[in-house]
């Protein structure tokens, strides 16, 4: 097990290293430099500026410095917002996005598993069809379409919820709904197919035959076993929530990290783009790593191929 985790961790680090390298060289590929402005900067000043930021050194040295800085959590300075550190801005805005994202994750897991379980228990009945139709719709309708739609309908026309902002609990309802729709659909489908498999398993028959009450069977055997595949969705769900949140924050005017990301892309604030991309990359890769580990931990039936080798 330790060996498996170490290998996975090393691979994750390697991927992260490639992403960091890519951001560095893509930054170098952009025409122009941070000190370009309408007015010609005098040569001595330019030289001093370059020396201050280490831009006078050979690229390979700059690259090593860049790696070192990232290891210390320093993502550089925003090119558009004067003297603001990228990591500082991320720290300021991430909390809002994190709270929104976590609520969405919890909501989608609970509703998704519940819907999937209902569909499986009432297989080929009305509820099953309704859930499956909803699931297909949830996967097909892009989150920005859904977000705009519910904003128009429940915010503007019906006045049930605020149109923008996260001032109170009601403010969270629409963004969370828009953010959770797709994960709910995926989780419901996953849960349904896995629960269907479990419901037909022999050990369920055994449990019934030995006289166990149905709620106990459901809780101890069906849900315990059927929920496993949902764990595999942790990684993709994180990705979904992050990309979703970039869009949702813009539509609902929420000042989280997603909005900063969109703004920095619009303003071509390159250090900010690269910094947030790296930040997102680390979260997503970490989520995938955790998924791999947790999946093995919760399901002892999965054989660890890497532990058998040599």
């Amino acid at each position: 097990m330790a060996r498996y985790i170490t290998t996975k961790f090393l691979y994750t680090l390697l991927s992260l290293f490639i992403l960091i390298t890519a951001t560095f060289f893509l930054m170098k590929a952009i025409p122009g430099d941070p000190f370009m402005s309408e007015k010609e900067v005098p040569a001595p000043i330019r030289a001093r500026l370059e020396a201050q930021y280490g831009l006078d050194k050979p690229e390979i040295v700059q690259y090593v410095n860049y790696l070192g800085n990232i290891l210390q959590g320093d993502l550089g300075i925003s090119m558009k917002k004067l003297n603001q550190e990228v990591s500082h801005i991320i720290g300021q805005t991430f909390g809002v996005s994190l709270r929104l994202g976590l609520i969405a994750v919890v909501v989608s897991t609970i509703i998704g598993v519940a819907l999937g379980l209902l569909a499986a228990l009432y297989h080929r009945k009305m509820i099953d069809s309704v859930v499956m139709v909803l699931a297909v719709l949830g996967i097909a309708v892009p989150s920005f379409v859904l977000a705009s739609l519910i904003q128009y309908l429940f915010g503007l026309k019906l006045h049930w919820f605020p149109i923008t902002g996260l001032k109170d609990v009601l403010g969270y309802v629409l963004p969370v709904a828009a953010l959770s729709a797709q994960p709910i659909a995926f989780i419901a489908r996953l849960t349904r197919s896995s629960m269907l498999e479990v419901l037909h398993a022999d050990y369920i028959k055994t449990a019934k035959a030995k006289g166990l009450k149905w709620p106990a069977i459901l809780w101890k055997h069906v849900i315990r076993n059927g929920i496993l595949p949902v764990v595999t969705y942790v990684g993709p769900m994180t990705a979904n929530v992050i990309t979703g949140s970039v869009v949702i924050e813009r539509i609902f005017g929420i000042g989280g990290i997603g909005k900063v990301y969109v703004d920095s892309i619009t303003n071509r604030d390159y250090t900010m783009i690269m910094g947030i991309t790296l930040f997102y990359g680390i979260i997503l890769m970490f989520a995938r790593f955790v998924t791999d580990i947790v999946y093995v931990l919760v399901d002892p039936r999965i054989k660890l191929t890497s532990s058998k080798e040599g």
């Binding site: 952009i30 097909a140 309708v141 892009p142 197919s193 990309t243 969109v262 892309i265 890769m285």
Partner: protein, 321 residues
Amino acid sequence: MANENKANKQPLPTLSAADFAPVDINQHESEVIKRESLTAWRDTWERLRSNKIAMGGLVVLVLIVIGAIIGPLIAQWVHGYNYKSNDLSATNQPPSSLHWFGTDDLGRDMFVRTWMGARISLIIGLAAALIDLLIGVIYGGIMGYFGGRVDTIMNKFSEILYAIPYLLVTILLLVVLKPSLGTIILALTITGWINMSWIVRGEIMKLKNREYVLASRSMGAGTGRLLFRHLLPNASGPIIVTLTLSVPNAIFAESFLSFLGLGVQAPISSLGSMVENALTGWMFFPWRMLFPALLISIIMLAFNLLGDGLRDALDPSLKNK
């Protein structure tokens, strides 16, 4: 019933020696196949055709493709404007007989732009999916066919690449490259092929130990013939399903990029960029959002339904998974 009763009432017939002569069975006739023989593809098609939902998706897709081809032409022919022509005296008009889907903030006709957008979105989706297919089949084919150390190294490489989030890579590339149809497709395919290569690898590994491959090899077939005549055609089911489901993914990714301002640039429109463009005035001019948003949802839905149906038709054992 009536015949049986009548037969029972009749007296037993007297039997002669001739009645015990062996019946002359034509050996050849018993081998004749009465039922029309179906090829695997006909069989798949019959199963798909009986799936009403998947066929609905297919019909809708065909209609949308036709609309994307002739929609702009119709408007040009009836009203004489194209996707670029604007009329600043008629901005943000609601749908009317002159502008069937209304006009946008620059007075451009939404009907033409929506169908042009569908055209661009479909082109991007299909092109990205086909390039993924090409690279995926080659890379996955090599991994699966040769196996061993080649497979280990190539597989680790693709795993490491795959761990880098897909949308982040496309965003990074498009921030640096100037967004155009070509660079968007490039950005979408740069790590998009990996999934396809794994599907191909898995199928080829499963198939290459079958007897018919051994038989063909023993008759002197080379690598090329084995791959293209035997392995890939037999792996085509999962490949087609993956292909069908990767089209809506690419369309969604493009619309997400458009949303960030990294999609196709004006005056060309894609469905994603139109939705993004409509966001500013969407409270007051809902039709500007409605038509492109509706169309993109329908396209995604249709591809997903068709893909699910294809999967069931190609491998009925996977049904309800």
